[in-house]
């Protein structure tokens, strides 16, 4: 390292610490707001230290629900979010690892075509084809179902490309050794390729879980019943009202709960998260 000077390190610590405080500030305020009663929050004089209503607010948010603006308690929404996020992550991994295996390890007519059909989906996010997709899901009677929340979002190329990239790094000799050891394609996939892919699977899971959890526009459109909403949508609905009447303390408790799972995933699975993020974007 060039010029490892104490002063420069001090500057670095200062800049980073300041940045971290700015980053944390909105979340801290939300947390503080979630520990007071409605009157204190609405008064506009929110203290900067947590109050004593934390347990009550979170209990109400999770199990009872808001009094006026929301029929479903957050517990249900959390469950919906978990099912959706895990469904998207697992679904994407399942379809993409199989298709990548076919594309990398076989030669067959229309192989390139199949690859391009999948590849082009990279270019068009759900936002630009939102209403026709809505119509199809409606025609398939999948509004207000988990299938409707999940299936349209797993049609994407990222997973296939990621696995393809990983498979290309698996030495050819492993396949040859397997052939000499008498393993066919499915046995090679199950006994060798899948175990070797576990890190990639985990990294993709982490990224897709966050992606699925944080979906907004799609669940907003296709859920009409409150009982099928995800938690991210729920917060928005809690605030869609004359805001003086909104139960901000419950909304903020919900926001904290909505952030917790994906943030925990990033913090505790940081290595997988970084790997997934960097490699899916290559």
């Amino acid at each position: 390292m060039v010029e490892h000077r104490p002063l420069r390190d001090l500057v670095a610590y200062a800049v980073l610490s300041l940045g971290i405080l700015i980053f944390a500030f909105p979340v801290y305020v939300a947390f503080v707001a979630s520990t007071y009663d409605a009157a204190t929050v609405v008064s506009g004089n929110l203290p900067l230290v947590p109050g004593g209503r934390m347990l009550e607010n979170y209990y109400r948010a999770v199990f009872v629900g808001g009094s006026r603006f929301m029929n479903e308690p957050v517990g249900v929404l959390l469950l919906n979010s978990f099912v959706t996020a895990i469904g998207i992550a697992v679904g994407k991994i399942f379809i993409s690892i199989l298709s990548a295996f076919a594309i990398v390890y076989f030669r067959f007519p229309f192989r390139k075509t199949a690859f391009w059909i999948i590849f082009i989906t990279l270019m068009l996010p759900v936002e630009v084809r939102i209403y026709p997709t809505y119509k199809i899901v409606a025609d398939l009677r999948m509004l207000d179902t988990y299938a409707g929340l999940i299936l349209p979002l797993i049609a994407s190329a990222t997973g296939t490309l990621l696995f393809r990239q990983f498979f290309m790094t698996v030495p050819d000799e492993l396949l040859e050794a397997s052939r000499i050891d008498g393993a066919g394609p499915l046995r090679f996939f199950w006994d060798t390729l899948l175990p070797l892919s576990m890190t990639t699977v985990a990294a993709l899971f982490v990224i897709q879980f966050i992606y699925g959890w944080n979906q907004y526009l799609w669940p907003l459109l296709i859920t009409t019943k409150d009982s099928m909403q995800t938690i991210v949508i729920g917060i928005k609905k809690m605030l869609t009202t004359t805001d003086e009447l909104a139960e901000w303390q419950l909304a903020m408790a919900t926001a904290v709960l909505a952030m917790l799972p994906p943030v925990a995933v990033v913090v505790f699975m940081q290595r997988l998260f970084v790997k997934g993020l960097v490699e899916t974007e290559k």
Binding site: I103, L124, V128, M168, M259, V266
Partner: protein, 293 residues
């Protein structure tokens, strides 16, 4: 890049591909082609009949002053978010690249906002800058500054930009840090021996070597601002006040749903598709170049 060693199989590869192809065709190609088709149709007020009107939806779209406003807003919004989030992230990344003690803790504390949903990021910032109850809005108003993002379009734009930047810095930070750490230390040491001071080293050695990362992030950030910030805008301003935060994507949503103008909304979707395809094409050219290095 192709494997030279493969399996023989006639039916198996198609079976393996079937799930993904089915989902892609049903939920991707069919709706995308519908969007294109609808952009040439006009529905009556009840949505019962539709007739082919050729390019009329496009002509109507480009005759709308609101559409140009939305384009302008999108350009302002994306430039601000992209430049600010890249700049802030680069500042933090260069500091974090200094082999500090506890560096990994700092890294974790920098990247977690990535995991926060855009809509929630919007709600958090809306809360602290809420004109009457916001923790930070009150000091502003106390200083005599008439802060009100619910009425003032510029204030609303500042608010959504802050929320969008707050969430995106984490992502850019991560890639910049990786880019910085990939620069061989010997190159920087050679610069030091050649008599370049720290600042000069940054601008003449580090920054140019980082340019592939920067370019990549530029494209990714523009795409991010176009699409993922939808949640922020919907949660914070719903495109208001008076359309001052209605970006192109938000307008697709608003016109199709609230206005019921599916043809016009579809035409806007197609315009967006073209933009994304162009951005992606640029990105691929960059990727190709990177492969050649």
């Amino acid at each position: 890049m192709e494997k030279s060693v493969v399996f023989n199989g006639k039916l198996l590869p198609y079976l393996l591909l079937a799930p993904q192809l089915a989902i892609t065709l049903i939920f991707f190609y069919w709706p995308a082609s519908q969007a294109i088709w609808q952009s040439f149709l006009r529905e009556d007020a009840f949505g019962l009949n539709s007739e082919f009107v050729g390019l009329e939806n496009y002509q109507a779209l480009f005759a709308q002053p609101e559409y140009y406003t939305a384009i302008g807003i999108t350009v302002v919004f994306s430039s601000l978010v992209t430049v600010l989030s890249l700049g802030v992230a680069l500042l933090f990344a260069t500091q974090a690249d200094k082999n500090l003690k506890g560096g990994s803790v700092y890294k974790t504390l920098m990247i977690w906002p990535y995991a926060v949903a855009p809509a929630i990021a919007g709600v958090l910032w809306f809360f602290i800058f809420h004109p009457t109850l916001g923790t930070l809005a009150r000091p502003l108003r106390a200083m005599g500054f008439d802060w009100n993002p619910m009425l003032n379009g510029t204030h609303a734009m500042i608010l959504v930009v802050m929320a969008a930047v707050w969430k995106q810095v984490a992502y850019n930070f991560l890639f910049f840090l990786a880019g910085l750490q990939a620069i061989p230390k010997s190159v920087i040491e050679a610069g030091a021996i050649d008599g370049a001071g720290p600042l000069r080293r940054f601008w003449t050695i580090i920054f140019p070597l980082l340019s592939p990362t920067t370019f990549f992030l530029l494209v990714v950030n523009i795409v991010y601002v176009f699409f993922e910030t939808f949640g922020i805008i919907d949660a914070v301003t719903s495109g208001g006040p008076a359309g001052s935060t209605t970006t192109m994507v938000y307008k697709v949503f608003a016109d199709g749903r609230l206005g019921g103008d599916l043809g016009g909304s579809a035409a806007q979707s197609v315009v967006l598709m073209v933009i994304v395809i162009a951005l992606t094409a640029i990105q691929f050219r960059y990727v190709e170049r990177k492969v050649q290095y």
